[in-house]
Amino acid sequence: MRCTIVALLTVTAALTLPVCGDEESGSGDNGRTILATTTSTQDSGLLDELLPRFEKESGCSVKTVAVGSGEALELGENGDAEVLLVHSPEAEEEYMQGGHGTSRKAVMHNDFVVVGPGDDPAKIKGMSSAAEAFGRIAKAEALYASRADESGTYTKELSLWEAAGVEPGGSWYVETGQGMGETLTIASQKQAYTLSDRGTYLATENLDLELLVEGGKDLLNRYHVIVVKGEGVNRACAQEFSDWITSPAIQREIGRFGVKQFGEPLFVADADG
């Protein structure tokens, strides 16, 4: 019995140690800058590629918190994050007007797509307007999985329902209250339609969904980087990150991201350089 306990403790220690080591090396001389971003940015894998490079070039250490756009802005307002990468233009403008940020710059955009079951009960495949497609989904009362959170994607969804002249609700309208990846999985399992950013749709595995509507003018998703108002070393790093991610070299990098894995880029770079 004693042997078992010793063995268990050893295994536990072995599992814990690398993690602890990681924690320590993460907190460099510059402390830790917190980047609050949206779950869809995180899910796309873009930051996993960019951040290590930024940390190496700047000496800053960045910790990413992936939340809804609503919470990201709230974290900024409370001073719990130094830099934000978000995509809720209207909420962002309100945030800037409230005096909580020192700068807001366009970084990139990707587009939303409407995905759904292959048999397409609402017959929306190939439509060019998302609002019209939403109208058909509501009319057919086909299952629709909604984020129903404070994400930029949900804000977009609501504006599409409004444009379609529909007040969504009823048994066909499933509200998940969760991130994009989870909602896509639920849509796939329930064979429901949903609105997703293209990146997360392509990056989420094991989905039994088809891309049905894309390219519409009403399906654009714009990302901005906001430096939160405040002082200190972490704020300097935040400013540096904002300058870095909008620099020509990194903008080129963003424009190429995803080609290798998905055969097409996930984002279009937007900064002027």
């Binding site: 078992t4 939340v67 129903a148 404070e150 209250g177 969760q178 399992q189």
Partner: protein, 217 residues
């Protein structure tokens, strides 16, 4: 978002049902582990004790993989339903209940079972007598099982999906509110969830303490 009493009712329904089923499975299992010959039970007892510490997300993941449309039990259409969530919570609470039952029965004087046998008790009579003797730890097992079930969020999210009006429970709803930056509502829900846990545990504790007093008198 649903009205709070709907979410609360769903939490209570799922976790109380799961605890009841887990008691029906875990108490006999723990009893067997306490009474069975040593050789056969050692491995299973270790499994049960490991199960007491199993992360709820792991249970959620495994149950979801089984229940997914493409999974082996997909045709039952239990993913994102309350019944699916109950299955997951039964798997979470059963090892706890079995483990505490086993420990409780093993803490009884070892000569007790022999004496009962010598007095002519058959196995069902013996087991019932031992359960009565161990009623204080058995109630502790029920409280631990319920406490784990009502407080867990891992499997409730993965298996239940937090679908509004259908599978949203208190814990998943708190996570969602935090995700929306709605800390005020999250705190209110947290307080209500604690109040529910407190009420049910207060009931069980009063039964337990009365049982303990009766044992001493």
């Amino acid at each position: 978002m649903d009205a709070v009493h709907e979410v609360l009712g769903r939490s209570a329904l799922v976790s109380l049902t799961a605890t009841a089923i887990a008691l029906a499975l875990g108490v006999p299992l723990g009893t067997w582990l306490a009474l069975a010959p040593r050789r056969g039970r050692a491995a299973l007892a270790t499994v049960v004790n490991t199960g007491m510490a199993i992360p709820t997300v792991v249970v959620g993941l495994v149950v979801a993989l089984l229940l997914w449309r493409s999974g082996p039990l997909g045709e039952l259409e239990l993913i994102y339903t309350l019944r699916g969530m109950i299955i997951a919570q039964v798997l979470i609470a059963t090892p706890l209940i079995a483990g505490i039952t086993m420990a409780g029965l093993q803490a009884l004087p070892p000569e007790l079972a022999d004496q009962l046998r010598a007095l002519g008790a058959n196995t069902p009579q013996l087991v019932v007598r031992l359960w009565i003797e161990a009623r204080v730890p058995l109630l502790a097992a029920a409280m631990a099982g319920f406490g784990h079930a009502i407080s867990e969020v891992g499997s409730a999210t993965i298996v239940g999906g937090n679908i509004h009006g259908q599978t949203q429970v208190m814990t998943t709803s708190i996570v969602e509110q935090v995700g929306r930056g709605d800390f005020g509502d999250a705190l209110v829900y947290a307080a209500i969830l604690l109040a529910l846990a407190f009420a049910i545990n207060a009931l069980l504790t009063s039964v337990q303490q009365r049982a303990a007093a009766w044992a001493r008198s």
